[in-house]
Subunit: 160 residues, 6 copies
């Protein structure tokens, strides 16, 4: 039996309900999904890697098929090391599409055995991004509509 393993890469700074929805809808497609938090040395993240990891682990505590990991390399190199045969990504807008197409085609060129699989975000999540969430936090606005409850309540207590 082939086991279908997918990597869902991102910086998740922070994880949003849009990310959450894509993963839950992708569960029937795969046998295992690895949520892989990319650590980019160049960019200071808003939330620490420990906090980002802790939150995502808590959200998927009851899902045996979902793992959480961090990586600091090309996404495709990381995926190769895990044995995954799929990358999972969400598509929100045609701007997203153009960006994802470039990344997807580079990855395909570097390592053809791994396929990128896309789901469309739900209409009501189309405008949600980590960037927007950080912007709202910066000005002490309410992000409870945009991130999972566990993240919202901690942000509410610590950052606002």
């Amino acid at each position: 039996m082939k086991e279908r393993i997918a990597v869902f890469p991102g910086s998740f700074d922070p994880f949003t309900i849009g990310h959450c929805s894509i993963i839950k809808r992708a569960i029937p497609v795969f046998d295992k999904i690895i949520i892989a938090i990319g650590l980019n040395d160049d960019k200071r993240s808003f939330f620490s890697k420990e906090k980002r990891t802790e939150w995502i682990k808590a959200i998927f505590r009851d899902y045996d098929m979902i793992e959480v990991d961090t990586f600091n390399s090309l996404t495709i190199e990381y995926a190769k090391k895990t044995g995954a045969k799929f990358l999972l990504r969400g598509l929100r807008t045609s701007a997203d599409f153009e960006f994802e197409r470039q990344i997807g085609q580079v990855n395909k060129s570097l390592y053809p055995e791994i396929e990128s699989i896309y789901l469309l975000t739900l209409p009501e999540h189309t405008y949600i991004s980590s960037t927007i969430v950080r912007e709202i936090i910066k000005y002490k606005g309410d992000v409870s509509r945009f991130v999972p409850d566990i993240i919202a309540s901690e942000i509410h207590h610590s950052y606002l």
Copy 2:
């Protein structure tokens, strides 16, 4: 064990190497793929449904997991009847993306249990479409780069 069945709908008038590539790359994702030829009463097709079915069956003759069928209903209604839990589609350009997003969101709204799964076409197939192939045939041009060999040789003998 959950069986992953996907419907790959289209008019395939005719089937191109772009369609062929998407299906072959999707084989590792699913346990069964049903290539479903949509028959639209309003539009006269260029090739008969018998010819389109025959060609696709011949191309996938050696693939047990691939079935070929026709339907004359909403795609999502057809998918529901087959027991499929997935629709499979290829994305070529951002124009494609906008079109597919609308269809995908309507389908999700009509029947949330079925997920649409997208693959990006390979860069070298981005510009290939059934419409372009028909246009070239109409002017007796050479379509052998754009359709599978079996279709190209028959078109060459019968239409040019």
Copy 3:
């Protein structure tokens, strides 16, 4: 006091909850909104002009500031005759945007005194269009999520 009159043109074949939402959200902007059903001789409509008019009038029965009319000319010529200084349009996707921009700039060129004013459709209405609704009706699918109740119930009885 300047009176702000807007024309909301379309074929409304049929009127959808997306159209309805744009109009209700535009009420605070204008003093009068004329919903103008364009009759295009070239295209046979799916629903008769009488039916389309009747439905829209019923939906806005309680809104004094909203009128319903038909026209068979260039939209901008019609608007000029009514004395309106604004055209109102909804924008769903970037494909929509490119189309609307062309129309808007032609209208501005033909009659600079009239401004086109745009609202974004709500995320949950982005994928709803009259074309999709007609397609679903043709295959006897359920359109009750996409059109106002009064239209849905009549379609349910007469067309399905």
Copy 4:
């Protein structure tokens, strides 16, 4: 009588003839327009907030219905405080559209009572942006086609 107040937010670094055109065309829509200069602590602006304010005030000196203000918060929070019921924005390209759609939908989600109203820039202003103007100034090029006269002459004397 309802008073229609709109906020036109931006960094206006500097104000261009594109901004100017949108505002003048929006005058018939609203009773008051507040041009709101966003001060973003993270980004050093090219022109000081005092200079940007002074220029815009000079340009609209003779317009009673136009006010100029600065803010340092989420745009939608600022708008709420002013009592405005509308945000006014210009749309130039489909890239703009995708960006504005995200912002507009976030704002609608945070504060549904405020509607964002869009005008298309004129064709001849489509390519003008503050970013381009700053780039040209940096290389001592001529920006007199792109900014109002009062700004052009001052830039000419002070920066070139």
Copy 5:
């Protein structure tokens, strides 16, 4: 010396000031430009091929380097026959771009020796298309801003 011959293909139904501008701006690039009117058997044209040819010939009467011709084949086949090494096209919007990219890549695949060369339409011509002009004529509107004078005056006398 290499002679640079370009084919500028289109249906030109009718020729617009946008077409005219692209050709005049392309004159410094080429030694000869063939304006090639495509005759598509499937579509009835609005203006006869004789009328379209006559108009374009009159417009470029004084340009020795510009020829006018008709063709009824694949554009690329026609170009090959003329000995042209270039196709010339104008790009207006990103919708245009996606369409032209597909056509251009098909042509490149069918006949790699011929390069497609693109110019951007001027901002003030972006929204002008033959389709819009025909639509305006149908409703007896004024097209004098959109087509060369010689065409405008004849349309004014004969069609309105």
Copy 6:
């Protein structure tokens, strides 16, 4: 005889096979092509200007009609000084198109005598950019598919 000189501007940090392909395909259009490396004081480049110049010169060593230069001004000012009448640019995606259209229209406005001429990148080069190449180098991935051999081998020895 008019001499056709084109400037092909870019930061070329580094030069890719996509750039290389555009230039080679543009050779039949022009009599001289100046590859002009823009030096932007604000951004630290990844490769030094000497290295970038050396590489491009080596690649086109056997092409008399191709020159390599650097500039530190507005592109259009630089082009004017060289006597070029054309700017040459490649178009990959519709995101590219929107960006290039803005730049092209600004340049046309600043100096109407210079025309920007566009070629479409080949489908197989659509996803290649200097940014992607730098990102891969940063993580010590293999860029040999994306840059000319001479650059690939030097990067392989010096950076990985």
